[in-house]
């Protein structure tokens, strides 16, 4: 098997399968997130959006395939869904945002000299004057702003956001979308799992539509078609407790995709989407979007 390559700054997924207890939640995903991309991750509940983000950040191991990161691990920033954070802990907003400076502060160095930087970040998210407040006293929107301040301070090249706008009011969403646009203009890669399709169409140039299987990946307008969305809705409902072992060929170095492979998960399009994955792994290194688009066509 020849080692796969990835362009610096990009994140490449090669035959990636992620899941829990051997059941795939993201199944045979191929493609590359180019540097500077502003990518929306769209799909029904249970489609594997959160799983994919957790995989990208290295929080869960790959069941199969690989993630090739063209950036060092500390250049990845990840915002999980807010309910995983203990907000009753007695911590000030300043300290919460200051966590983002871990790469320069480490476990011991004082943050006293960085106070101005932290205050700047809080100002950028509209939280001036909140620095001494305890995080438990913030509203949902204010807390999300504080987490975005932490992201600013992390200064990461690749930023992964898991449903950052769930339960957040329109004004805050608007502010935070502005911040995401700013990151995009700075050349950072942003990947966000989202549910609001209008928001995606308005702000995100590219989209990956998944429903455990990749449904379509490319320019947002070409991906979010009624046919693709309909297919995603149908695909997402196939969890089979007694599913057979996946027989799909995953050896990326092998000569040709196996035309006769049978697949236990039982969706008719599996084969087509999967063969594209192989083509991609064998032949392409650079031009992402044109290729991903074909996933959509395959549907």
């Amino acid at each position: 098997m020849s080692p796969l390559q990835v362009t610096p700054g990009a994140v490449r997924l090669a035959g990636l399968t992620l899941g829990y207890d051997r059941h795939p939640a993201v199944h045979h995903l191929d493609g590359t997130i180019p540097p500077g991309d502003l990518l929306a991750l769209v799909g029904p509940n249970g489609a594997g959006k959160s799983t994919l983000l957790k995989g990208l950040v290295g929080e869960i191991p790959c069941l199969d395939g690989q993630i090739l990161r063209g950036v060092p691990r500390e250049a990845l920033a990840y915002l999980p869904q807010a309910d995983e954070i203990d907000r009753s802990f007695p911590l000030s907003v300043l300290d919460l945002a200051g966590m983002g400076l871990w790469h320069s502060s480490g476990p011991w160095r004082s943050l006293r000299g960085e106070r101005a930087r932290i205050l700047d970040a809080l100002r950028a998210v509209g939280l001036s004057g909140f620095e001494e407040r305890q995080i438990g006293t913030l509203s949902g929107g204010q807390f999300q702003r504080a987490l975005f301040a932490r992201l600013i301070l992390q200064d990461a090249a690749v930023i992964l956001l898991d449903e950052p706008f769930t339960g957040i009011d329109a004004r805050t969403v608007e502010d935070l979308l502005g911040l995401i646009g700013h990151w995009h203009r700075q050349g950072r890669t942003v990947v966000a799992a989202l549910h609001d399709l209008a928001q995606v169409r308005a702000h995100f140039p590219s989209t990956l539509l998944i429903a455990r299987e990749p449904v379509a990946w490319g320019p947002t307008a070409a991906v979010l078609t009624p046919e693709n969305l309909d297919r995603a809705a149908r695909l997402s409902e196939a969890w089979d407790e007694d599913a057979a072992v996946c027989a799909r060929d995953h050896a990326h170095g092998s000569a040709a995709p196996d035309p006769a492979h049978d697949h236990a998960h039982g969706s008719a399009q599996d084969g087509a989407a999967h063969d594209h994955g192989h083509d991609h792994a064998h032949t392409h290194g650079g031009h992402r979007h044109a290729h991903h688009h074909r996933h959509g066509d395959a549907a």
């Binding site: 920033a77 990840y78 995983e84 802990f89 007695p90 911590l91 790469h103 932490r150």
Partner: protein, 290 residues
Amino acid sequence: MTDWLAPLLDPFAFGFMRRALVGCLALSLSAPPIGVFLMLRRMSLMSEAMSHAILPGAAAGFLVAGLSLPAMTLGGLVAGLVVALLAGLVTRTTALREDASLAAFYLISLAAGVLLVSLRGSQIDLLHILFGTVLALDDGALLLLGAISTLTLFALAVLYRPLVMECVDPLFLRTVSRAGGRAHYAFLGLVVVNLVAGFQALGTLLAVGLMLLPAITARFWARGLGGLIASAMLIGVMASVGGLVLSYHLGLPSGPAIVLVAGLLYLVSMLAGPQGGLLRRLVRTRHLEA
């Protein structure tokens, strides 16, 4: 000397009382901050389980060397650390949550301990192990308490930031650093050494008393983490002094007296504490403008 101070100072005219005081003060500086973190991580009862897990080690030491503090300390330390590590390992590698895996191990450990003690020794020996010997701390025990206290304070200073981050947002810490796992194990280690220290003075049953009660009481007095730690230490000191003085004047066993004074401070704070105490909640103050 003023008259009203006399009852407070009289007991410490005796050498064994001074030793007990020094030992308890050392414990009051190190155990309560550990308790604060345990409380904030919702692991309060975990320390109770750990204190039982120490028993078979102490009992094994007792079997080998009789009522010797160094042997029992070493045994307790080993048993506690083994249980903490095994429980952590099982949590990280299987589907079991930490509380469940810890419960399984501490119960095994506790049963083994009771079995070991009953193999040899009398009721009196068992009482010593369970309730401690604060009035009979020798030089070795005092040195050990002092060393554990010093180690704990230094270690907490070193671990402070990763520990706080591990409490608030463990996922975030995992994505930026591997320090979270190490901080977690180091913290469990600190819990164990402090319980062993507590067991010298208060016995395995009550070792948790000076760790948790001051920490929980501090919640009614302070809001920030720094304030919580400082007030927990202060409450620990007050309970130690108060308990020893009471035990001297009323002829009570000192371990339970110390923990009961801590308990009394808790009840008073629960009623009168400025941070969410009962009275404060009953008296409706006028709300602010914004």
